[in-house]
C-alpha cells in the first residue's frame, strides 16, 4: 500500500475523529439546550394553564355580564345559569324555580327548536337561529339564538350556553316589508295587465335606451319579432332607423326622434302618417328621478278615425261658419247672463255696433230692449231647454227704433248643461209697421162699416118718412078732392102712388144690400134642404110652379141668414120671370174638394146673353118688371163673394135660366 494512500486514510480518520468530537460537543450542547427548553416549556405550560383558566372565567364573566340575555343549559335542557338580562327578559329566575329551555319555546316552534338543539349537540355550535318564545307573562316574541356546546377537559360535552336577542321589532318590520312587497308586486302586476291591454302602443326605455316595458299593441304596430316580455332588455338605439319604413316621411321620423331624445322634454300630440294610410299620434314623456334621467316613455295611438272625424267636423264647421257669417240673419250667442259670446256680420249691421263693441256686453241692456222682462222670460225658457220665437223693440247704435223677430234656442256644453242661448235676429221693423197699419186700417174699416150701416138706416129712415107723408097727402087729396080732381087727376094721383111704392122698395133694397157683409159673417152648420122648404113656405109661391130638389143636397157651414137671402132672391126671380103654364124650378148640387157647387134652374123667360154680366150690378133691372129694383141679384153676388165662391149663369131666351154658384168649404 503506498504511503500516499495511508496518508490519505490517516487524514480521513483524523477528520472523522475531529467531526465526532465536534458532534458530541454539539449534541451535549443541544441536550442542555433541550433540557433548558423543557424546563422553560413546563413553566410556560403552567403559566398558560393558569392563563387559560383566567381567560375562561373572564369569558364567563363577559357572557354573564353582557346586556343580551344569556343562558346556560345542561344536556337535559334544564337552565343552569342565566344572567340578569335573561331574568329580566324571560321573567324566569332559576334562583327561585327550576325551568327548562323547552318551556320557553312557542309550541308552533317546538319541533324546530328540538331539531336545532340536536344539531347543536352534533356540531357544537349554531348561529342566528330564529324562533318564537313565550314569556312567563304569556307575551310572545321572536328571538335570535347563538349557542355553543361547553366541553369538559376531556373533550366531553357537558352543557350548552347561548345568547338570545329580541328580534320582535325586526320581525315586525320584515313582515311589513313582505306585505308591502306583495302589495307592490300586485300593483305591478295590475299595471302590467293594464299596459298590455291598453289600446295604444307603449314603450318604456331606461336611461341606456334598453326596453324596460312594452305592450302587444306596440309590438304589433312596429312589427316587433317577439312578445312584449321577450322585448325587455333589447337596445333601442337603432330602432328609429329600423322602423322608419313604416312612415310616409322616414327621414323626418328619424330626425324628429333624435331631436326629442336630445331635448328630453315632454312632447304631446305629434302626428305621424304611416305608409298604410293610418294616422298615429305620438307622445313622449321623459322620466326623471330627482335630477337624474331615468329613461322615457313613448306612447303611440292610432287616431285615424278620430282624425278623419275631426277633419270632417272641421270642414263642416267651416262650411256653417261661412253660412253664418254671410247669411242675412243676425246671429248671436250669449251666455246665461245675456253676455255676448259671438256675433256674425249681419248682426253687427242690424245693431249698428261692431263686433268689439258687442262682445262681452249684456245684449238686452246695450240694445235698450223696450221691455226687458220679455228677454228674461225667454231666458228662463232657455234654461229649461225650450226654443221659441218672440219680438222685441230695440234701439240701434244709430238710435233707430227697430223691431226684431228673435228665434232663440239653448246652447249646451259637452255635458249637456245649458250655457246660454243662440238667437237668430230678423229686422221686421217694416213688416211690423205694416202690420200695425193694417190693424189700424181694419179697425177703421170696421168702424166705418158700422158707421155705414148706421148711415144706411138713417138715410133709409130719412127717405122713407117723407115718402110716407107724400103718400098720405096724396091719399088725402084723393079723399078730400075726389070730385074736383076728375078722372084724370085721380089717375095721376094713382101713378104718383105707384112711383112712391117703387121708391120705397128701392130704399128697402139699398138697406138690405148694404147690410150684407157689413157685419162679420156668422158661420154655422146647417142643412140646405130644410132651408129651401122654409123659404118656400115664407114667400108667395104660385100653384103652377113646381120645385124639385137634388136628393144629395148637403149640410154646409156658412152664414145661414145670407144663404137664405141668396136662395130666396134666386127663387123669387125664378118665380117672377116664369111665363110657362107649368113652371119648374130645380135646385142641383155637386160636391168638389174645396167648394159646394149649387145650381138653380128654371124654365122661364131666359136672359139675353148681353145682360149676363149686367144683371149682377146694383140697380140693374131688365126693365120688364115695374116692381123690380135691380138689387136682388146684386145681393146674391155679394153673398157668394162673402163666401169666397163664384157665380155664373147659362140661359137661353124663352127656354130658361140656370144660375151656378159655389160656396167655399171652411177649413176648421
Amino acid at each position: 500500500m503506498p504511503n500516499s494512500e495511508i496518508e490519505i486514510l490517516k487524514r480521513a480518520l483524523e477528520r472523522q475523529v475531529q467531526a465526532r468530537k465536534q458532534a458530541e460537543k454539539i449534541l451535549e450542547q443541544k441536550s442542555k439546550e433541550l433540557y433548558d427548553v423543557q424546563h422553560y416549556l413546563r413553566e410556560d405550560n403552567n403559566r398558560l394553564n393558569h392563563l387559560l383558566q383566567e381567560k375562561t372565567s373572564e369569558l364567563e364573566g363577559v357572557f354573564f355580564n353582557i346586556p343580551d340575555p344569556y343562558l346556560v343549559i345542561n344536556l337535559e335542557g334544564k337552565v343552569v345559569k342565566m344572567n340578569s338580562a335573561a331574568k329580566e327578559f324571560l321573567q324566569y329566575d332559576i334562583d327561585r324555580e327550576d325551568f327548562y329551555a323547552a318551556q320557553l319555546v312557542h309550541q308552533d316552534y317546538l319541533m324546530e327548536a328540538l331539531q336545532s338543539f340536536q344539531l347543536l349537540q352534533e356540531i357544537g355550535i349554531i348561529k342566528n337561529f330564529k324562533t318564537k318564545i313565550k314569556l312567563k307573562t304569556g307575551e310572545e316574541c321572536f328571538v335570535q339564538v347563538n349557542a355553543n356546546i361547553v366541553y369538559n377537559v376531556h373533550g366531553e360535552p357537558i352543557a350548552a350556553q347561548g345568547v338570545l336577542r329580541d328580534i320582535s321589532m325586526e320581525e315586525e318590520v320584515a313582515r311589513l316589508l313582505d306585505q308591502q312587497k306583495i302589495a307592490l308586486e300586485d300593483s305591478q302586476n295590475r299595471l302590467a295587465t293594464v299596459i298590455s291591454n291598453l289600446q295604444f302602443g307603449v314603450l318604456l326605455e331606461d336611461e341606456n335606451r334598453k326596453i324596460a316595458l312594452t305592450n302587444p299593441i306596440f309590438c304589433e304596430m312596429f312589427g316587433m319579432p317577439g312578445t312584449p316580455q321577450e322585448m325587455v332588455g333589447i337596445d333601442c338605439s337603432g330602432a328609429a332607423e329600423q322602423s322608419k319604413m313604416f312612415f310616409k316621411d322616414p327621414e323626418g321620423f328619424v330626425k324628429r326622434i333624435e331631436q326629442i331624445l336630445r331635448d328630453k322634454k315632454t312632447v304631446i300630440g305629434d302626428e305621424l302618417l304611416t305608409v298604410s294610410g293610418t294616422v298615429l299620434q305620438r307622445d313622449f314623456i321623459p322620466i326623471f328621478s330627482g335630477e337624474a334621467y331615468k329613461g322615457h316613455l313613448w306612447v303611440y295611438s292610432d287616431i285615424t278615425i278620430r282624425k278623419k272625424y275631426k277633419d270632417s267636423l272641421k270642414a263642416q264647421k267651416e262650411k256653417y261658419s261661412s253660412i253664418i257669417a254671410n247669411m242675412n240673419l243676425g246671429l248671436v250667442e250669449v251666455d246665461n247672463e245675456d253676455r255676448v259670446q259671438l256675433v256674425n256680420k249681419s248682426f253687427c249691421a242690424l245693431s249698428g255696433y261692431s263686433e268689439e263693441e258687442l262682445l262681452g256686453k249684456k245684449l238686452a241692456q246695450l240694445l235698450k230692449v223696450s221691455d226687458p222682462t220679455i228677454v228674461e222670460k225667454h231666458q228662463v225658457k232657455r234654461l229649461q231647454g225650450i226654443s221659441d220665437t218672440y219680438e222685441v223693440n230695440v234701439t240701434t247704435k244709430q238710435g233707430a227704433k227697430d223691431r226684431w223677430l228673435i228665434s232663440g234656442a239653448p246652447r249646451y256644453d259637452q255635458k249637456g248643461q245649458v250655457i246660454g242661448s243662440i238667437g237668430i235676429h230678423l229686422d221686421i221693423t217694416k213688416q211690423h209697421e205694416l202690420a200695425l197699419q193694417k190693424e189700424v186700417l181694419l179697425q177703421e174699416l170696421e168702424q166705418s162699416n158700422i158707421g155705414l150701416q148706421e148711415y144706411a138706416h138713417v138715410v133709409s129712415h130719412d127717405l122713407k118718412s117723407p115718402l110716407r107723408s107724400i103718400s098720405a097727402l096724396a091719399s088725402w087729396l084723393e079723399e078730400d078732392y075726389k070730385d074736383k080732381l076728375g078722372p084724370e087727376g085721380l089717375t095721376q094721383l094713382a101713378l104718383m102712388q105707384d112711383k112712391i111704392t117703387v121708391m120705397d122698395k128701392l130704399i128697402t133694397g139699398i138697406l138690405k144690400y148694404s147690410s150684407v157683409g157689413s157685419h162679420k159673417n156668422v158661420f154655422s152648420v146647417f142643412d140646405i134642404a130644410p132651408l129651401i122648404e122654409e123659404i118656400k113656405s115664407s114667400i108667395y109661391w104660385p100653384q103652377h110652379i113646381s120645385l124639385h130638389l137634388d136628393s144629395e143636397l148637403p149640410k154646409i157651414k156658412a152664414d145661414r141668414t145670407q144663404i137664405q137671402q141668396l136662395f130666396q132672391n134666386l127663387l123669387n126671380n125664378a118665380i117672377t120671370y116664369n111665363d110657362k103654364a107649368a113652371g119648374t124650378i130645380e135646385i142641383g148640387f155637386e160636391d168638389s174638394a174645396e167648394f159646394w157647387n149649387f145650381s138653380v134652374t128654371d124654365n122661364g123667360k131666359g136672359i139675353k146673353k148681353e145682360y149676363h154680366q149686367k144683371i149682377f150690378d146694383v140697380f140693374q133691372s131688365l126693365g120688364d118688371n115695374p116692381s123690380s129694383t135691380g138689387i136682388g141679384l146684386s145681393i146674391v153676388k155679394k153673398v157668394v163673394q162673402n163666401h169666397k165662391g163664384s157665380i155664373s149663369l147659362e140661359s137661353e131666351p124663352d127656354k130658361g135660366t140656370t144660375f151656378y154658384f159655389s160656396i167655399k168649404k171652411q177649413i176648421s
Binding site: 138706416h457 138713417v458 133709409s460 129712415h461 130719412d462 122713407k464 118718412s465 115718402l467 110716407r468 107723408s469 103718400s471 098720405a472 097727402l473 091719399s475 088725402w476 102712388q497 112712391i500 111704392t501 120705397d504 138697406l511
Partner: protein
C-alpha cells in the same frame, strides 16, 4: 083714452088725428115734438093712457126718452108703442129691452096705417092699466 103722440113730423100728427076721426072713435090726442116736450107735459098733467113714440127725433130721441121713462117711478108703467119707419135690429132689441109694449112699422100706404092704428087702439082700450094716484 088720452093718447100722447111724441112725433116731430107734423104730417104724422095729422095722420093720426085724421085716422082717429075717420075711425069715428073719441080719443084725446096730445102732441109732443120730442122727448123733452113729452116729459114736460107728463110732469105737469094727468098721465095719458097710451104713448105712441117715434124713434128718430131731434133733441131727445125715442130710446133716450124710454130710458128716462123706465127710471121714473111715476112713469114706468105707461104703455108705450113705438111707431117708426124702418126696422133696425139694434133699435128693435133695445126698445124691447127698455120695456116697450109694441113696435109698429109705419106702412107706406095711408090705408094700411089706418088699419094698424085701429087694431092698436082697440087693443089698448081693452087693457087694464096702472093708474098712479
Amino acid at each position: 083714452m088720452t093718447i100722447l103722440l111724441i112725433e116731430d113730423d107734423h104730417i104724422e100728427v095729422l095722420k093720426l088725428n085724421r085716422s082717429i076721426a075717420k075711425l069715428g072713435q073719441e080719443h084725446e090726442v096730445v102732441e109732443a115734438g120730442n122727448g123733452e116736450e113729452a116729459l114736460t107735459y107728463l110732469g105737469a098733467h094727468k098721465l095719458p093712457d097710451l104713448l105712441l113714440l117715434d124713434l128718430n127725433m131731434p133733441k131727445m130721441n125715442g130710446l133716450e126718452f124710454l130710458r128716462v121713462l123706465r127710471n121714473s117711478d111715476r112713469l114706468k108703467y105707461l104703455p108705450t108703442v113705438v111707431l117708426t119707419t124702418s126696422v133696425n135690429e139694434k133699435d128693435l132689441k133695445e126698445a124691447y129691452a127698455l120695456g116697450v109694449a109694441g113696435y109698429l112699422l109705419k106702412p107706406l100706404k095711408y090705408e094700411d096705417y089706418i088699419t094698424k092704428i085701429e087694431v092698436i087702439l082697440a087693443y089698448w082700450k081693452h087693457n087694464e092699466l096702472v093708474k098712479p094716484k
